[in-house]
């Protein structure tokens, strides 16, 4: 690598990082796209559909993944992390840690024979632990690059010096246990940070029963449950008795707008619970959904109309009020205790499945990355941005976009990403 006359480092291969990279690449600027996971795609790849159009998420994302992979101006660094940044705007030096994939990328054809034979079963992170994958795996079926990776923490050979079955069965001899973690050094003019978010773990809110009550799940878990390529193959059943739930309750603001957890609003939950309720109804018209909310936030284009449609066409009931307590009956049906504000009476409301709309929180390693980049965080640990220069970080030449600077939906992440690309291009040209 070494010589980069005019390039930009993009950190994070979710939709924001992808959009920023594609814009820059089309603009004629070389891009070094760094992604921690084995494939690009990010959170959007985990979603079943997207509001307010109910577009199938992977359907609209996949062409972008392929474009990113093929673009001559984009170099993908998957399974890589930024470890050190020195220099200043116009002349940054980046040191990446390239984790070994243990796969010869040019040989692997994603045929999956190795997966079949691998004896190690591991919780699948992409499917939010709802199913097992193997120690050799493709991060997700439509993932890009569409090649395997070996999980060094789980692989029998790499941990216990046994097995090597994958090596024997691979017809392409694509397994390479000799690969080592390595260092990649890059010179770049500007940096775009697009590291996204992670979902809040609602376990501390014990009264809501997450992890204690089997039929209380999170929004992201529900996305995977209902997704046709997810662990249930799109057949919505609940884990306690494998029955099809007919009555769903969605609890908004779980961990959000809450001074004890995350004081901010996560921006997307009112909309995505509506979407999830709609998809559930589309799967099974006998499903009825109830959405508990504090304020129904639907300010985006077509959002209000979307909620109206949810009410009229999908029979979704919106109930004003936050839920503090969920218990269950003998059949493990969750019972929601809430105040019906129309009558001020307390209700015990049994449902079949509860979906918690958990907050978006900054990635765990955001503070570390902020340190490496030398940029500031806000009080919630998102990257700090300025109201009237929303894409600028606290350091010249480094731009932030998407959910790493605060919760936002996909269109806003895309807008941010393109915007950050414009800023990075401006910087690259002016400092060049």
């Amino acid at each position: 690598m070494g010589e980069n006359s005019n390039s930009v480092l993009v950190i994070g291969g979710g939709i924001a990082g992808i959009q920023a990279s594609l814009d820059l690449a089309e603009r004629g600027i070389k891009v070094e796209l760094v992604e921690k996971k084995p494939c690009i795609g990010g959170r959007m790849a985990q979603l079943d559909k997207t509001f307010p159009t109910n577009d199938c998420s992977i359907c609209i994302l996949a062409p972008k993944l392929a474009e990113c992979y093929r673009h001559p101006n984009i170099t993908l660094h998957t399974l890589a992390e930024v470890k050190e940044i020195t220099g200043k705007a116009g002349n940054f030096k980046a040191k990446l840690l390239q984790h070994a994939r243990y796969i010869k990328a040019e040989e692997c054809i994603n045929c999956g024979i190795c997966i079949e034979k691998c004896p190690m079963r591991v919780d699948d992170e992409f499917d939010v632990f709802l199913r097992k994958r193997r120690a050799i795996y493709i991060y997700f079926l439509q993932g890009v690059p569409s090649i395997m990776a070996i999980d060094p923490e789980k692989c029998l050979y790499l941990t216990k010096d046994a097995c090597r079955i994958c090596e024997k069965v691979c017809e392409r001899e694509a397994i390479d246990f000799e690969q080592k973690d390595s260092e990649v050094n890059l010179n770049v003019k500007s940096i775009i940070v697009a590291t996204g978010y992670e979902p809040f773990d609602p376990s501390p809110l014990v009264n809501l029963g997450y992890k204690h009550l089997p039929n209380v799940v999170t929004g992201l878990e529900f996305e995977r449950m209902i997704c046709a390529s997810g662990p249930l193959k799109g057949h919505l059943i609940r884990s306690s008795d494998r029955k099809e739930p007919k009555k769903l309750a969605f609890i908004n603001c779980v961990g959000s707008r809450d001074m004890k957890y995350n004081p901010y609003c996560s921006s997307v939950c009112c909309m995505y619970t509506t979407k999830e309720a709609m998809i559930a109804y589309e799967h099974d018209n006998s499903i009825q959904s109830f959405i508990f909310y504090i304020d129904l936030r639907a300010g985006g284009k077509g959002f209000r109309e979307y909620i109206e449609r949810g009410q009229k066409e999908y029979g979704i009931k919106y109930i004003k009020g936050k839920v503090a307590k969920i218990i269950e009956d003998d059949d493990k049906n969750p019972i929601i205790i809430y105040e019906d504000m129309n009558t001020s009476k307390m209700k015990k409301f049994p449902v079949d499945l509860v979906i918690l709309a958990t907050s978006m929180i900054p990635n765990k390693d955001t503070p570390e990355l902020a340190n490496i980049l030398g940029i500031d965080l806000d009080k919630n640990n998102f990257f700090l941005s300025n109201a009237y220069l929303p894409l600028d970080s606290s350091k010249k030449g480094i731009y932030i976009c998407g959910c790493c600077r605060g919760p936002m939906d996909i269109p806003n992440s895309v807008i941010d990403a393109s915007g950050a690309a414009a800023k990075a291009a401006e910087n690259a040209i002016r400092e060049g």
Binding site: R297, G302, F382, L389, I415
Partner: protein
């Protein structure tokens, strides 16, 4: 007709195909098909060895059609096409047959039937390949100029970014000066900076060498296509033409004047925008102030939420509190829209300042009496009465009335509330389906200053992907109108999602190559069957159909 020599390469894909299909028999079968002069199998067609074999055989046998039967064209067609090109063959003379994802992998237990199916798939490929034609990618010259319509904060931000990227920018504004709605604001949320401070960007724009600002000017006619638009603008002294590569629409929106609503009178019952003026002039001298949200929004006539009025009300309420700490301010609202980190914190701060929030429901809207407002309080299920000296109505941003004309000129759509409709709500939020035209700010949807700024940068980025190129290469597999058959009914023009078809002076439809994406919609719909969709021609598809029946 040219002498067709076809080469067929059948991939084992290791055992992925070879393990389930009888590949040698497929090769033998291929050899029996018309014009196949060469057929072979390949362990891995996509490997270096496989690819050089294809190249070698093209040269050796002088092949002018190539078929690879292997995996999916969605991932591998570009690779094989580029190999054909390297061997001197037009890449459109390549055809791919998917016998893995479509055959071996999905019929793993039926080797015989699957092999028979693979034969038919190959035969269909051959049938199509016989009719393939070389196509050329079109090259369009790009005028590296950006025209921005609208000189508010969005238009100015986009102009400045593009100019700083060293593109030539022309910024036209209907009003005599730049600044848009920002000119009428007092302080901005969430920082309470003076609007005039943010407006300082005006100087940078006006003095930038690369930016030409033309005020008191409106477009009257727009022609052309990506890279080559011609925009006629009207000024006081006549009509001028502007040549530009791209167009950014940043025409903003208007604040609804609530005539006839809640006793609006412009003195004691005013709008938030009018309140900004009073604040600017420090003319607030009343104690009880009530703000009503969603005035003229979220109703039958205007179903949408205007997104920015809650924050505006919170801001103005807090500013009043700063000036007059003993003022009693109530905000009658439906849902407080303060998404995200900063805005939610801002809402909490407003509560901290002692502002009273009262929720109402649309079935029972507040009633304005002489000195008090009566409203049904949803939280207590009771009517309550709030005294007032002044009422401030939060009205939505509404689309500019001239959006419709502009949309017609640009041939881009508006949504039901007359805001501009982007190409794709999720992934192309600032693009139009028509290439080379972009939108940002409140022309697209009510946006506050930070949002308008982000969008402006985004539009600038999208625009720069075009005007940074000298020439734009466009796909060869596009539509073409047979002028002899076209009767000028105009149906194709209406249904083309990309406005790629237009009527020429003779009443004949004409495809703008630069805009066509090759979806084929026009060809399947044309009543006269006057449109050829290259690479997916009717003849080619009929040949595939015929071959698919098997023998």
């Amino acid at each position: 007709m040219e002498d067709i020599k076809m080469g067929v390469f059948i991939c084992h894909c290791g055992t992925n195909i070879g393990g389930f299909l009888d590949v040698p028999s497929l090769v033998e079968y291929a050899k029996t098909l018309p014009n196949v002069t060469f057929a072979t199998d390949n362990l891995y067609s996509c490997s270096e060895v496989g690819l050089s074999l294809i190249k070698e055989k093209i040269e050796e046998h002088d092949l002018n059609r190539v078929i690879v039967a292997s995996c999916t064209p969605r991932t591998h067609e570009p690779l094989f096409r580029s190999i054909c090109q390297e061997a001197g063959l037009n890449p459109y003379l390549f055809e791919m047959v998917n016998i893995r994802d479509q055959c071996s992998w999905v019929h793993m237990k039926e080797t015989e039937a699957a092999t028979e199916k693979a034969k038919i798939l190959i035969e269909m490929g051959v049938a199509k390949a016989l009719l393939l034609q070389p196509l050329e990618k079109f090259q369009i010259d790009i005028n590296p100029t950006a025209l921005i319509i609208g000189g508010g904060i969005a238009g100015m931000t986009a102009a400045l970014n593009l100019a700083n990227q060293e593109f030539k920018v022309i910024l036209i504004e209907k009003e005599p000066e730049l600044g848009g709605l920002l000119r009428y604001l007092y302080k901005l949320y969430p920082t309470h900076d003076d609007a005039s401070k943010v407006l300082e960007v005006r100087n940078l724009v006006e003095n930038h060498q690369k930016i030409k600002v033309i005020t008191s000017t409106e477009p009257v006619k727009i022609e052309g296509f990506i890279g080559n638009y011609k925009v006629s603008v009207k000024r006081r002294d006549g009509i001028y033409d502007i040549d530009t590569g791209i167009i950014i629409v940043a025409t903003g929106a208007q604040v609804l004047k609530p005539e006839g609503l809640f006793g609006y009178n412009g003195s004691t019952i005013i709008t938030q925008l009018e309140l900004e003026q009073l604040l600017k002039e420090n003319k607030i001298n009343v104690k009880n102030i009530v703000m009503i949200q969603c005035v003229g929004a979220r109703n039958e006539e205007r179903r949408y939420c205007s997104n920015i009025c809650c924050m505006t009300a919170l801001k103005n309420a807090m500013l009043i509190k700063e000036l007059k700490p003993d003022a009693n301010i109530s905000i009658i609202f439906r849902d407080i829209q303060t998404q995200g980190t900063t805005y939610e914190e801002y809402y909490r701060k407003a509560r901290e300042k002692g502002i009273t929030f009262i929720r109402y429901i649309p079935e029972k809207v507040p009633i304005v009496k002489e000195s008090n407002i009566e409203v049904y309080n949803d939280y207590l299920n009771q009517d309550i009465s709030i005294p007032y000296d002044m009422i401030v109505l939060s009205t939505p941003l509404i689309a500019n009335p001239d959006s419709e004309d502009l949309a017609k000129m640009l041939k881009v759509p508006l949504e039901e509330n007359h805001f501009f409709l982007e190409a794709h709500v999720k992934l192309r939020p600032v693009d139009f389906a028509t290439d080379g035209i972009y939108v940002c700010g409140s022309a697209h949807w009510p946006a506050d200053i930070p949002e308008a700024i982000s969008q402006a940068y985004a539009a600038a980025s999208r625009a720069s992907t075009i005007i940074s190129k000298d020439v734009l290469e466009v796909e060869g597999a596009i539509a073409e109108v047979d002028e002899d058959l076209c009767v000028g009914c105009g149906i194709c023009i209406k249904i083309c999602p990309y406005n790629a078809i237009s009527m020429d002076d003779n009443g004949i439809a004409h495809v703008t190559e630069a805009s066509c994406k090759g979806c084929g919609l026009c060809g399947a719909t044309c009543p006269e069957k006057a449109i050829t969709n290259h690479h997916f021609t009717t003849k080619q598809i009929l040949a595939q159909i015929l071959a698919s029946g098997g023998k």
